[in-house]
């Protein structure tokens, strides 16, 4: 190993910790992408959550958990709005959520102007019992938010793979019309996935705010690309109908370790990381497509995350 520090558990946790918003969001964006949609607004909802918590707590005088509740309600409504427009007004998801990413980051900024604290400062000084959710280390080693993530992972997994709701998500993604004829309320299913991803954004925003101890409107920044990368790398079909939570989780870990490990092991400067990560993405995706048309044989397929090899075969255009 080029750098044995990389193997220290605390460091592993740190690297996970720093990427947690991406991890959390990609889980529920998987549901959306399985329905055939896409969500490029969730990252802006992270900032909206954070600043709402800060402003509501500091300037509206709400108790901290009341502020968190308010943020959850607001963000869920934002998700519901986009979900509604996509599901019921039949607007392409990419466009609505692109608009949403502008709108909600703009809203976050406007919320920040309601505060007596200038938007550039960030609201800090949160009470300990709030910061707990971002800073407490279970057993002194494992950050508590990893448990929160694990819980979200389990919930997402069960929802998508074990419930009727999850089955409806898959069917809606494959053929919405056929799903409708099967009596599935596809509009409701689609809308609900955007709400779920907004709720995930609210959780991620809360945890990040607690972790950093500061409430800012621009938190979450530009996670979009990482999220989508993780979801698709994890085996979700970008046209919908196939995908797996475990695949997404593994892919997001892989990206995180690359981003954290490469600079550590090979002293690659962070700003150049886009190159190896991009190459990985391109290589995996091409490899998978090649395997799909029978180019590399089954062994390669079996290496890939996602469902078994028999499923990968039919992932054709």
């Amino acid at each position: 190993m080029a750098n044995d520090r990389f193997l220290r558990p605390a460091l592993l946790f740190t690297s996970i910790n720093d990427n947690l918003p991406t991890f959390m969001l990609s889980l529920f964006v998987t549901l959306i992408m399985v329905t055939g949609g896409i969500d490029i607004q969730v990252s802006s909802l992270v900032g909206l959550t954070s600043i709402t918590i800060g402003v509501a707590w500091q300037d509206f005088g709400l108790p901290i958990w009341g502020a968190v509740g308010l943020a959850f309600v607001l963000v869920t409504l934002c998700g519901a709005l986009s979900g509604f427009l996509i599901a019921y007004c039949r607007v392409q998801a990419m466009v609505v959520t692109l608009g949403g990413s502008f709108l909600f980051s703009g809203m976050a900024l406007l919320v920040s102007t309601l505060s007596k604290t200038e938007s550039y400062l960030g609201i800090s000084g949160f009470p300990e019992d709030f910061r707990f959710v971002g800073t407490y280390d279970v057993g002194g080693v494992i950050p508590i938010q990893i448990f929160i993530y694990a819980l979200m992972l389990v919930v997402a997994f069960i929802l998508l793979h074990k419930t009727k709701y999850g089955r409806k998500i898959f069917l809606t993604g494959v053929n919405q019309s056929a799903a409708e004829y099967s009596g599935i309320n596809t509009r409701r299913v689609i809308m609900s996935t955007y709400i779920l991803s907004a709720i995930a954004a609210a959780i991620a925003g809360t945890v990040t705010t607690a972790y950093l101890g500061t409430s800012r409107s621009d938190l979450g920044g530009d996670l979009t690309m990482d999220i989508i990368t993780a979801v698709v790398l994890g085996g979700t079909l970008s046209t919908g109908g196939k995908g797996s939570i475990v695949g997404t989780a593994l892919a997001s870990f892989l990206i995180a370790f690359l981003r954290f490990g490469l600079p550590l092991c090979f002293k690659i400067s962070t700003q150049y990381l886009d190159i190896p990560v991009g190459i990985l993405l391109v290589a995996v995706i091409v490899g998978r497509s090649a395997a799909g048309v029978g180019g590399f044989g089954p062994w390669l397929r079996s290496l890939l995350p996602g469902k078994g090899s028999d499923k990968a075969r039919s992932v054709s255009k």
Partner: protein, 348 residues
């Protein structure tokens, strides 16, 4: 100039106790990579580091976000840096990460944009918001005067154009300058809330043109952002305006604005020697990491650059305590105002 000269104690004593910076590694963390300001600072730091025999690792993220920066800090610690010299995106956001770094035995120093004073040792500051606000006003006044406008009595309309409402330093200069203008030049009228161009060069031009079209009579545009200033100048050039029609000033590197000065679009603009600032920051961080202790009033003599004095924290932020030792502020001695006269003397 800021703090210079009068040393009460020769720095040599401390340096002898501790050690030299040779062989140490400093992680030099900008707010964002790919920005002319930070890249110049890195160039400076690398250049001096070579002379001092220490290593400067320039690591940062292409995105100016707290989350990304926290990740970079953790990475620096994991990498085994002896010290960190950082320009923070958000002081409270990186607070925990810096505390953890310190707990892991990594010396934390800051430059350009400060952390919470208790989270770091030394801060190499380009000046307080007040100093920089004064500088912006001074440049504006000079620009207006050379057009024959009396800044003290003539009605002056102006507006601000910089990067974002969420960046710390630019907003703090804006706040300070607004207060001073209201006090010193009540005849100046800010015609609109600030314009932001998100460090997007094309947006800077579009916004710049819109400002000029929507307020054709405007006298002064202050662009305290290194992308907004050239963008605004290009917009003025596109509209055929020169330094005799409108005063545009702000902060940007001499290279990026030189052409607009040559063709008469801008009269003056400013910056500080960020190359030296970066180098100083890294040196101070390494200096303490080498085992030296400094107190307020001590002098650190930086080879090739000169002697600097450690001042109390409240010299840049009011009412902030300063710890017994290894805590304080070093002011960058020199801020620069560029005009056609001197702009060719600098190559950053």
């Amino acid at each position: 100039g800021g703090g210079g000269g009068d040393a009460e104690e020769p720095a040599g004593d401390d340096a002898a106790e501790g050690g030299s910076v040779e062989g140490l590694t400093v992680a030099f963390i900008p707010k964002v990579t790919g920005n002319a300001f930070f890249e110049s600072a890195n160039d400076g730091a690398q250049e001096y580091a070579g002379k001092w025999g220490m290593t400067v690792d320039y690591i940062g993220d292409a995105e100016a976000s707290v989350t990304a920066q926290v990740s970079v800090i953790n990475q620096a610690v994991a990498n085994g840096a002896d010290a960190i010299c950082i320009s923070t995106v958000d002081a409270s956001g990186v607070s925990d990460a810096l505390k953890e770094a310190a707990a892991a035995g990594v010396v934390v120093a800051t430059w350009d944009s400060d952390a919470n004073p208790e989270d770091r040792t030394l801060m190499v500051s380009q000046g307080t918001p007040d100093i920089l606000a004064d500088m912006l006003i001074e440049m504006s006044v000079a620009g207006l005067e050379q057009r024959g406008i009396d800044p003290a009595n003539d009605p002056v309309t102006y507006v601000w154009h910089y990067s974002q409402a969420t960046v710390t330093d630019q907003n703090s200069w804006y706040e300070a300058a607004q207060a001073k203008i209201a006090e010193q030049y009540p005849n100046w009228e800010n015609v609109h809330e600030n314009y932001y161009s998100n460090q997007d060069a094309e947006l800077a031009i579009t916004t710049g043109e819109a400002i000029l079209d929507a307020f054709p009579e405007i006298d002064l545009i202050i662009c305290n952002d290194s992308t907004a200033l050239p963008g605004q100048l290009q917009a003025a050039e596109n509209r055929g305006l020169t330094q005799d029609d409108i005063t545009i000033t702000g902060f940007a590197s001499p290279q990026s604005v030189k052409a607009y000065c040559e063709n008469g679009t801008i009269y003056n603009w400013g910056l500080w020697d960020c190359a030296v600032q970066g180098a100083m920051g890294c040196y101070c961080a390494a200096y303490i990491a080498a085992g030296n202790t400094v107190k307020v009033g001590d002098t650190i003599s930086i080879p090739e650059i000169g002697d600097v004095t450690v001042e109390a924290n409240d010299s840049i932020a009011e009412g902030v305590e300063t710890a017994e030792e290894n805590n304080g502020v070093v002011l960058l001695p020199e801020r620069l105002i560029f005009t056609s006269e001197n702009m060719n003397d600098y190559n950053f």
